[in-house]
């Protein structure tokens, strides 16, 4: 069985929303996530597109913030629909 086809992917609507938010971060800002390294917003956008561990953490962070505003329903990322 092809693992890549069964791995749940976060929906494109969500990744696009997160990317739009990351695009507002000025280019002189870097973000450190412990020992995983330092990232510019551009690099984080790539990670979000790839949905690697760092990208998923950033999606989690941005969505948690948006949910805290009280205007978005909770969605469990692991069950997000497949988009590609």
């Amino acid at each position: 069985m092809d693992e890549t086809k069964t791995t749940p992917r976060i929906s494109e609507d969500i990744t696009n929303l997160v990317i739009a938010r990351l695009e507002t971060i000025p280019p002189n800002i870097e973000m450190s996530m412990g020992g995983d390294g330092n990232f510019t917003a551009r690099e984080l956008i790539e990670r979000v597109r790839e949905q690697d561990d760092v990208g998923k953490k950033m999606i989690d962070m941005q969505m948690a913030y948006l949910r805290s505003l009280g205007n978005l329903p909770t969605q469990k990322f692991g069950n997000a629909s497949t988009t590609n």
């Binding site: 938010r21 507002t24 971060i25 000025p26 002189n28 800002i29 870097e30 973000m31 450190s32 996530m33 412990g34 020992g35 995983d36 330092n38 953490k57 962070m61 941005q62 948690a64 913030y65 805290s68």
Partner: protein
């Protein structure tokens, strides 16, 4: 009161933690709290364990990289892990400013008899202005993030119970979240980082 603090410095994240932890050393000096400051190359396992074995340390503050089971010192040398050093935390208040250490390690430290523990259940993020790298204490991007977490250490140094130190820190996070929520500045991108670190910071006692 005796404080043992580690603050390695070997990459951008630890560079910032090193300088911002300096405020804790300054506060301890101001209050005549005896301090063992294991900075940079001194943040090594043998020194860390030796002080814990020989000195009546009350508060342990570790800054550095970590994961669910361990925390590192200079150049990623593991200082404290589930299998090495957790017993040395008995009777002490511990603050670990490192990714994920509140999960397995924090719980193990408490099982071994620590008085209290504050740490993070998820990665600890630092956002910073690359133009301020040589003046990290003037970095207005990193400042709010590190001030909020520093509050745990400041309150412990002032002699407050660990639950109060946690509450003081959470209050700082809330103040900053309110401040940046109300502003139209470009710094509003900090809000998710503040919320993430705040909701990842837990206290066990």
């Amino acid at each position: 009161m005796l404080l043992l603090l580690t603050r390695p410095r070997y990459d951008p994240a630890t560079h910032y933690l090193f300088y911002w932890s300096g405020f804790l050393v300054d506060e301890a000096k101001k209050r005549n709290v005896r301090t063992i400051d294991l900075s940079k190359e001194k943040a090594k396992k043998d020194k860390f364990h030796s002080y814990l074995l020989k000195q009546p340390v009350d508060i342990v503050i570790l800054n550095g990289h970590g994961n669910s089971e361990e925390v590192a010192g200079q150049n990623d040398e593991v200082l404290l892990s589930v299998s090495s050093g957790a017993k040395l935390m008995k009777g002490k208040n511990i603050f670990i400013r490192a990714c994920d250490a509140a999960t397995t390690l924090g719980q193990e430290i408490m099982k071994m008899g620590a008085t209290g523990f504050v740490g993070y259940t998820r990665p600890f993020w630092i956002a910073r202005d690359v133009d301020s790298f040589n003046r990290p204490l003037e970095d207005e991007t990193a400042g709010p993030i590190l001030r909020c977490s520093n509050q745990v250490g400041l309150s412990l140094i002032k002699g407050k119970p660990i639950a109060q130190a946690q509450e003081d820190s959470l209050a700082r996070y809330r103040e900053n979240i309110d401040k940046y929520s109300a502003s139209e500045t470009t710094s509003s991108f900090l809000l998710p980082f503040l919320l993430w670190n705040m909701t990842s910071q837990v206290c066990y006692q």
